[in-house]
């Protein structure tokens, strides 16, 4: 069924996409490896969805290439059998039943009718829910139906844009288990989400973009321990120095800084060379949220986190 029985690596290679004079993606490059779950993070408007659309040939890149297992999406022999997609949160006709929505997808992609019922059961939408019109579904049910569409042909690649939106804790748990099981089978999974606390427990690798540019790509483990806490009597001067050296610097107290993107020895050497006293220099295992904010700019308010949703942060 698949175009290529081997692993499907997703490769975004120097992709630029402009809308008018505005570059939504700016020379963006990264890869997504098979057998791993890769989180795709960035503030709202950073270009995540556009990247996915370019990868899926729904939008044309102005420069660069995006391929799935060495082929452009349009050149895949069986696109629906190779890539499962959740892209828009509400891509349904509200007057159509959930079952009919899947039947349409199944018929277009040559899937046998029983596969519709199997997939509905997989996402917990079998029974009366399948007969209801999608317009009456909750957000969580719509997400489940989107996921059912993506899983319909049991594809070896999943590209999911905010699949956890609206899911209850049980749904989140099921999504985690489902994606992990597929990654363990060697499937390639790219997941964008703004629920950073959730995604930290879900993904193996992270790609962070901001303003259409790559900010970081690493394993979650590497990224979250790449922060350093530095205390100095000259935090302002040190911050400027470390920013110039390529680090992302965030205040962490009256005389402390949280530095991301620079190794401890680089920070120490730079401070020493500039004659800045260091009172503390330690590795800090931050949360993905902290690292994300440091990488993309703490002043941005476009990223929703669990904490802000709960009102814990002013």
């Amino acid at each position: 069924m698949y175009d290529n029985p081997g692993p499907h690596r997703l490769v975004i290679d120097h992709v630029t996409k402009r809308y008018g004079a505005n570059a939504v993606l700016d020379d963006l490059s990264f890869t997504v490896e098979p057998g791993r779950i890769t989180g795709f993070l960035g503030p709202n408007g950073s270009g995540k969805s556009t990247t996915m659309k370019v990868l899926l040939d729904l939008a044309a890149a102005d420069a660069g290439t995006a391929v799935i297992g060495d082929r452009r999406y349009r050149d895949l022999r069986d696109p629906a059998g190779t890539v499962g997609v959740v892209l828009e949160p509400n891509a349904f006709h509200p007057g159509r039943s959930g079952r009919n929505h899947l039947r349409i997808l199944a018929q277009a992609s040559g899937q046998p009718p029983p596969r519709v019922e199997t997939t509905l059961a997989t996402v917990g939408l079998d029974g009366p829910a399948a007969r209801r019109r999608v317009g009456t579904y909750s957000l969580g049910m719509k997400q489940r139906l989107s996921l059912a569409g993506a899983l319909l042909a049991d594809p070896p690649v999943l590209i999911l844009d905010e699949p956890a939106n609206g899911l209850d804790p049980q749904g989140m748990h099921e999504l985690r288990d489902l994606l992990r099981a597929r990654a363990d089978r060697g499937h390639t999974i790219l997941v964008s989400s703004h629920l950073l606390a959730e995604i930290q427990h879900l993904v193996d690798d992270v790609v962070v973009i901001d303003d259409g540019r790559l900010v970081a790509t690493a394993t979650v483990a590497d990224l979250t321990r790449s922060s350093a806490r530095v205390r100095s009597p000259e935090p302002g001067r040190l911050a400027g120095l470390l920013t110039t050296a390529g680090g992302a610097v965030e205040p962490a107290g009256p005389d402390a800084l949280l530095v991301t993107g620079l190794a401890l020895d680089v920070i120490g050497d730079a401070a020493n060379a500039a004659g800045i006293a260091i009172h503390e220099l330690s590795a800090e295992a931050g949360s993905l949220e902290e690292v994300f904010l440091a990488l993309t700019g703490a002043s941005r308010t476009t990223t929703t986190t669990n904490r802000t949703e709960e009102g814990a942060r002013p």
Binding site: E88, A91, G95, I104, A108
Partner: protein, 250 residues
């Protein structure tokens, strides 16, 4: 995936919403109006000469011009709502060869339009036939006349739906697509005739009437009329194809 599956999938899209019911209701209402007109309507002089001959009755039930317009709206709404509801994303994900995907959509719209034309003409003929016993006239249409009306309505319905779907694909907005279909089928043709009177036989309603065998001053012939209606449909469809190939889907 094969082309037949794609077309069947598109037909299932059209048949699994309430839109067909709304259009079916419209056809029934139009047929009922014709039936009532036959039963109680008269000409200006109080006579019922408008149903006094087979040709008059064929003129009354000729549904092709209506089919063209109703199916045009059907195609425009169906196509534009694909974009409005974002279901077009799944369409082009499944079939990234966009010309092929759009081709399947146009064929499905054409089939839907043909059904609208056929059902509309059948209902109208049935309503008129049911009302004639209430008058002094009987059903006088020949079998070939009935067949011509049904075939013309089906063809015009198919062409209208393709025309509407082409507009919907270009405009991608239900209100705009409906407006576009109304402009092309109703408002623009008289203006064209004003500018070039020789075009009078080639506007959609004149072609539909010619195809139904009821044109007052028809001189184009049925085959040419069928071809002319097809051209009216293919121009927006081609524009839709150009649009789909050139623009981002979302």
């Amino acid at each position: 995936m094969n082309t037949i599956d794609l077309i069947r999938s598109e037909l299932r899209k059209l048949s699994t919403t309430r839109m067909p019911l709304a259009f079916a209701a419209t056809l029934v209402v139009l047929a009922a109006i014709n039936g009532v007109a036959v039963a109680i309507g008269t000409d200006m002089d109080g006579s019922k000469t408008f149903i006094s001959t087979g040709a008059d009755q064929q003129s009354l039930v000729a549904f092709a011009a209506n089919a063209l317009m109703i199916a045009g709206l059907f195609g425009a709404i169906a196509s534009a709502r694909e974009y409005g509801n974002n279901t077009v994303i799944a369409t082009f994900l499944n079939t990234p060869k966009r010309a092929r995907a759009l081709g399947a959509q146009l064929v499905a719209a054409g089939v839907g339009g043909a059904i609208i034309g056929l059902v509309g003409a059948t209902c109208t003929i049935a309503a008129v036939a049911a009302s004639l016993p209430l008058t002094e006239f009987e059903f006088l249409m020949s079998t070939s006349g009935v067949a011509q009306v049904l075939a013309a309505s089906s063809w015009a319905g198919a062409a209208g739906a393709v025309l509407g779907a082409g507009i919907g694909t270009v405009v991608r907005n239900t209100g705009g697509a409906v407006t576009g279909a109304v402009l092309i089928l109703i408002i623009v043709p008289p203006l064209v005739v004003q500018l070039a009177s020789g075009m009078a036989s080639w506007v959609p309603t004149a072609l539909a009437n010619e195809l139904s065998g009821v044109a007052l001053d028809g001189d184009s012939g049925a085959v040419a009329a069928a071809a002319g209606i097809a051209v009216w449909a293919l121009v927006p469809a081609t524009a839709g194809l150009w649009s789909v190939l050139r623009r981002d889907v979302v």
